[in-house]
């Protein structure tokens, strides 16, 4: 079983968290911090397994992680999972992200956390590996995305929201105010 999947960047900022066991929000943040602390101090050329943090699991649990450019992908698994298998799974997951986002980078994960979740849901379900075949995963994700598009998608939401706002007798406002400069350089995750 997989107990948790965490994605955070080199500074420990969470990009996706998925716990398959209930923890309070505070506990979740603490686990992320602890895991980041454990993982971040390791060189890139050491092994990808870590015997559990004290917070999550116990002796039966392992942290298995991969570090891609600016992101850490950490899986917390118990002994029924194959260590090397999970490493492969992370690779499959990242490659799938790469396919779905076309050259995925950290920004994609930052702004589309929901989409990343949907992709992950096709890979792991309830802590158990659901599918490992990338083509199958991508196909299912794409069908669902098409469905969303045909329904108008969430992008339809702002339009409606604007109209809702209008109904609240507020002055109409241009959509894109100051977006702000996103001047973070995120190397592509693609070179595996």
């Amino acid at each position: 079983m997989i107990k948790a999947i965490l994605i955070f960047n080199n500074h420990g900022k969470p990009r996706l968290i998925r716990f398959y066991q209930y923890f309070t929000e505070d506990m979740q943040q603490q686990i992320i911090r602890e895991t980041f602390h454990l993982v971040s101090k390791r060189d890139d050329n050491v092994c990808n397994f870590l015997e559990g943090g004290s917070l999550i699991g116990g002796s039966d649990y392992k942290l298995i992680y991969r570090h891609y450019a600016t992101l850490y992908f950490v899986f917390c698994v118990d002994s029924s999972e194959s260590e090397l298998g999970i490493l492969d799974l992370i690779q499959v997951f990242v490659e799938t992200l790469d396919k779905c986002f076309e050259n995925v980078c950290e920004l994609d994960l930052i702004f589309h956390m929901d989409k990343v979740h949907y992709i992950l849901q096709e890979v792991v379900m309830g802590g158990m590996v659901l599918e490992t075949n990338m083509n199958e995963i991508v196909a299912q994700v794409e069908v669902q995305n098409r469905m969303e598009k045909s329904e108008g998608g969430l992008s339809a939401a702002p339009a409606r929201a604007v109209s809702a706002v209008k109904n609240m007798n507020l002055p109409e406002i241009p959509r894109n105010i100051n977006i702000g400069d996103i001047n973070i350089k995120v190397p592509s995750l693609s070179p595996f």
Partner: protein, 1263 residues
Amino acid sequence: MALKIVKGSIDRMFDKNLQDLVRGIRNHKEDEAKYISTCIDEIKQELKQDNIAVKANAVCKLTYLQMLGYDVSWAAFNIVEVMSSSKFTYKRIGYLAASQCFHESTDVIMLTTNQIRKDLSSPNQYDTGVALTGLSCFVTPDLARDLANDIMTLMSHTKPYIRKKAVLIMYKVFLKYPESLRPAFPRLKEKLEDPDPGVQSAAVNVICELARRNPKNYLSLAPLFFKLMTSSTNNWVLIKIIKLFGALTPLEPRLGKKLIEPLTNLIHSTSAMSLLYECVNTVIAVLISLSSGMPNHSASIQLCVQKLRILIEDSDQNLKYLGLLAMSKILKTHPKSVQSHKDLILQCLDDKDESIRLRALDLLYGMVSKKNLMEIVKKLMLHVDKAEGTTYRDELLTKIIDICSQSNYQYITNFEWYISILVELTRLEGTRHGHLIASQMLDVAIRVKAIRAFAVAQMATLLDNAHLLTGNMQRNGICEVSYAAAWICGEFSEHLENPMQTLEAMLRPKVATLPGHIQAVYVQNAAKLFATVLKSQEGNTDSTAAQETSQLMIERLPLFVQSANLEVQERASCILQLVKYIQKLQQKDVEVAEEVSALFAGELNPVAPKAQKKVPVPEGLDLDAWINEPPSESESEDEQPKAIFTKEETKHSRPRHIEVDEKELARRREARKQEQANNPFYIKASPSSQKVYQDTPGVEHIPVVQIDLSVPLKVPGLPMSDQYVKLEEERRQKERAEKKKKEKKKRKEKRSGRGKKHDSGPESEEDITPAHMVDIVTEEMPENALPSDDDDKDPNDPHKALDIDLDNLGEMAGRRPLADSEKLPVRSHRAVEAAKSPGEDGDAETVATQQPKKKSGKDKRDDKKKDKDKERKKSKDEKKKKKHKHEEKEEDLLRGEVHEPVVQSEGISQVAELPTSTSAEVSDLDFWLSNAPVPSNTQEAATVAAAEAPVAEVVSGAAQDSEPDEPKDTEMEETKSSKHKKKKQKKEKEEKEKKKKKRHHHHHRHSDGGGEESVQNGTVEEEEPLPSMSNYCLLAENSYIKMVYDIQGNLQDGSQVVVSVIFENKCDSFLKSMEFNVLDSLNSKLQRPEGSGPHDGLTVPFQLPPGVSNEARFVFTVQSIVMPQKLKGTLTFIVKNEESSTHEKLDFKLHFTCTSYLITTPCYSDAYAKLLESGDLKGSSLKLEGVNMPFHHLLARICFHHHFSVVERIDSCSSMYSRSIQGHHVCLLVKSSGQTVSIDAKCDEPTMLGNVLDEIKQTFSQC
């Protein structure tokens, strides 16, 4: 400025989407929290709107905020609202949010039941998928109970996408609602053979998870998994199955034996490291589960160790890590195989990766022996000096202590060395493990009597120098060591060289800076020392020395009297007064030494940590009985204790417990244990590593120590452990020389000391005797102490509830069929009425179909659907194979007649099968597990078959529609040789499929069934057990060694054969340096490692102690396989006994028969027919006369010795098939009439066929 205000209001009021929110947070780095709180306010506004799109958007943002650590549970109801949207886009958002923040105590979850049920039955598979995914994260016991049936239906959904999700979620359902396991299991099991690999993988996944926690319930699935393992190519599935087998083998060693071969093949063939690693892991588990001493398995161990070595040597740190991890598992049972890789493991200690270093450290623990302990510890000490970071250094320290102290100091031959190591360790800065070192010092000093003098000397030095270290001692845990030092010096003060000096050291003012409990020990032991000093000084004529000592005490003690620590204060003031009194007496010239030392007389014995717990309750004592009358609550409850009480009052002298009989006592004890186990507040003793139970406690039983010191004990200054290493070396050498001398004189050296200790070490270690015959004082235990089994399972483990017997489900209907109460709850009308969301057509329909199950069977004929459903539920066990679709098609056809026969047949099968199924099931697994090539328990299986046959007949007769179920077929098949097993199963599957096609045609089915029965009958006849057979034939033999060999083709490589040779040592000497060499021919060559010449021999990778045998494998490359071949070879070896060693050699001839190039390959009958029709094969025939054996024996022999498999068999005629490593097909048609057997054979290579036939002929001429 105005603009800013406007913008602010815009920011607040405008409806952001997730991207805007993220952007906003990034732009407000300084006041993130404030910004988010305004966002949350906005979200709250949005959630109040009616527009579902706005709500969904808000919920989406909340999911993001949840990730950042914000509690969003307040929006749970809104999440449910979004979940219930009819649009997939919003639904998905809702379920995602729910899966992120719902949990068991979220109260709105109970509102979701109907929504989820509706989504599960949605015509859109992605609605269903999203619901399943979400549910998998927040399923509660209530949801599991209410939805179990719906999910179970989904397991047979037409879309594999839904099937696999439904299968996976079942595991969660089982966890929350264990009652669902039994009813759902048959279908789950069916999914193991789903045509879609994803579904299959999911089913394997779930069953593996289940089996991991309660393996024994899943043993009966082993054959199925075995089949999957040999047929699957999906590495994920393979890994899971192999892991599962790892969990099953400890329960059934025979399974392990069966697994070894396919696993070994996988190890050889796979290129996937993950699979290789899991195979190695499971082989290790198998080897652990098998009793040692099975010669063939050391080859497997060698293989594992060898593969692991490759992993460890790999540059990939992950493989290195895993290699070490697996190595540590081998270490537990086969330490010797690992020990030979000591170099590699020590090398890993230098790795830059801490995880790897730690793993290597773990391995070291098991690798020490008497011989190398000092060397290894020396190396570790170097690492301690070099190590950066306290964690790793602390780990090293604990490991050093663990290694040295393991199994009661088994490997320590020189305790002086150990003490000096401990003393060296005290110089570590910043360690947290001072108390560990201290307890080791105490333990050694107390239990190893011979070392006390030395230990005391060392401790005195330590105390003397303590002031140099106290500065940093204070901060770190190392000051604990002075606790031990002080105690040892005080307790064993008679060994002190200069007690006065030590006394002074203990009373230094600096001591007052130590922690209280240590000061207390200092004060107390100063008193002990004082007593000793007095004793030595009073012997002298000069009494001033004694008085000066008292004076010293009186001067120094007041410092401690002022201590803030109560303990220190109390002891100090007590002792101060005592000394003052003594001083008074001294001034009167009274001799006080005797009296003072009497204060501390007597010896302290070590007490085992569990001793207190082990004190048995005295006969008749009932700890549960009331001592006084219990507070009376009601009269009836009072009665019992009252009686006891009054009786006790009448006879005070007798213990009142006499009335309580043994049984009652046992019962109560049990009840108490139970209670303790269930009481979370009951503190359980932590299991101690030392399990020494001694029956004879008391001082007088502790063996007297013999001191035979050959090493000077006094080393000035702080000890250097290296000195002892050197000294120990010398001593060992000297000893060896002496021993040799003695042996030459043929005088048997009488070994004193404890033989037990020597037995455990390897042979070569026996040469090393401990420096001084040290008797380690075992810890005291109370009389009658019983080894307790404290391994209580965690009562809160959710998997405990899943420990459910599943064997009698599915295949073996009968023993305990599903009771009505066990069926999954389905919605009743009330549930529909209660449902808030009204009128879903699909919903209503499902209700209708499921409803009749709850009713009694009287309105059977009312509705087609009801009937169908009922039929399915009732005969679930037998008729799992039925597909919905088929039934639907058949409905019209069946309508009139079907349900009655079905009911009937069910009744019959329940009655008839009940008695047989138990044994059938057991024998089924047993049979499968019996590794012998020929069934050893045909008898048993046959009886089962006989018993089953009538049932099958009755069933098929009564209900033409219900076929004799699958497992019976399996059983029938299995009465044949297990070699055919694989093929048979495939064939059977094929048949099954055929049957499915033919289902509508009853006539077909009939004939089908008839055919089967004839096979059954055929099997029933053959009951004689087959003689055991072996393919190993003698290679060569002399008075030292015997070699037998077997040749197997390599399926992966058409030009390779593997020769397995078992070497058996027949003499009393040690055989070593065995070299196996073969004179290559043009056609066949021995594969030698790269770099060696064509005439070099291969070293056999093991040595043979007397009477031991072991197997080695050699790979040969062959070019042509149509002719048999003989290769000459030589085995050279060294025979070593105590006096001498001689070089011996043994010549042999390896006979490569054509048979050995054949590989047992299953073949379907249709493929076989095609093959024969193709006309590419050339024929030949053979007649055997005077064959006196049953036909099935004959077949078994051909199968076993010549690697054939049976394709089809009718009475005494059988077709057989085999394939050579280079792909030649060999087909046989064997007919038997009386004592004559004729074999017609076809093969695409006539020369080869001729040779094979000759070999078959030879086989039968021999018997």
